[in-house]
């Protein structure tokens, strides 16, 4: 990784795209607060664990949609301009981390 780092995406997200991702993250933030409350109220451990799994699934979903957009824009652009290999290796690296 590392050599191919940008500060910004090649194609900036539209306001609408941003808002959708942020809304999903706000919902996830709310779910994390929900778990704090469950712990405070001494709720049954298995119910808390089920909630944590749900948050993980929601986060992965956001991740996959960002990954798809990233591949369609940044990686594709890199491939067209001959910088494909670095972009692809960086992508595979992040996929590996994701699938842990």
């Amino acid at each position: 990784m590392g050599e191919y780092l940008h500060d910004h995406p090649v194609t900036p997200r539209t306001e609408d795209e941003k808002q959708k991702v942020i809304n999903r993250l706000k919902r996830i933030e709310g779910q994390v607060r929900g778990i704090q409350k469950m712990v405070e109220e001494d709720r049954y451990c298995v119910d808390i664990l089920v909630q944590i799994s749900a948050i993980n699934a929601a986060l992965k979903k956001v991740g996959f949609s960002l990954m798809e957009r990233h591949t369609k824009h940044c990686v594709s652009e890199a491939i067209k301009t001959g910088e494909g290999n670095e972009a692809i290796e960086e992508l595979i690296e992040v996929i590996k981390q994701f699938s842990k």
Copy 2:
């Protein structure tokens, strides 16, 4: 699953235990807010994906520590009182969801 649901853990968490879990969840909540900011500021997709992986890892860590406590208390208690199988099947079910 389902038949063995409790509303509360057999051994209530101490205030100190609760506080530790809540502190970890507050940190995770902050990380989720951090990602929202990254999206707003149009930060590089791969950096955002790396952050999402980090949150997933942190959530799993909390999950595993709750799972250990649950097994040491609730499941152990169930085993000693002859209700072990239901508690274990419920545990395995939640582990499966977790490892997705």
Copy 3:
């Protein structure tokens, strides 16, 4: 981990139990050979990747069923004889590896 290692399960598997697990593993072995053939025949990468995912899922399924049996027998036995904590910590350790 480590301190609580046995050479054999507390309750030996019946011949029937063994045979079922072995049959599932033989099928998985066949699937792995199938992928080798796909690679030799230059089959489409995505089809090969789908097959690898299927094998991973099948292996996890075998793993979860062994895990359930292990918890119902070895771990339960350990809990009843007061050695529960070591057995549970060992179990959680292996669950962590599994969910990677």
Copy 4:
């Protein structure tokens, strides 16, 4: 998925590439046989579970290397010829299955 299926990779694997993948798969096949033997010999469940995790990790490693090659060849080719979106959606789909 589905609409973008090829029977063969755009760039055929070299004999050397094929042999490397096949060797790794043969080793995995041997590991699966090893687990069968462990079950037959009534070995300790946790040791078997550790072995299953190791096979899963090895399979994922093969998968990621195929995925990298696929993206560098087939997906890149598709992007250059304007069929990128279908190829990328197919790729993301298989990544999702992989990270389960």
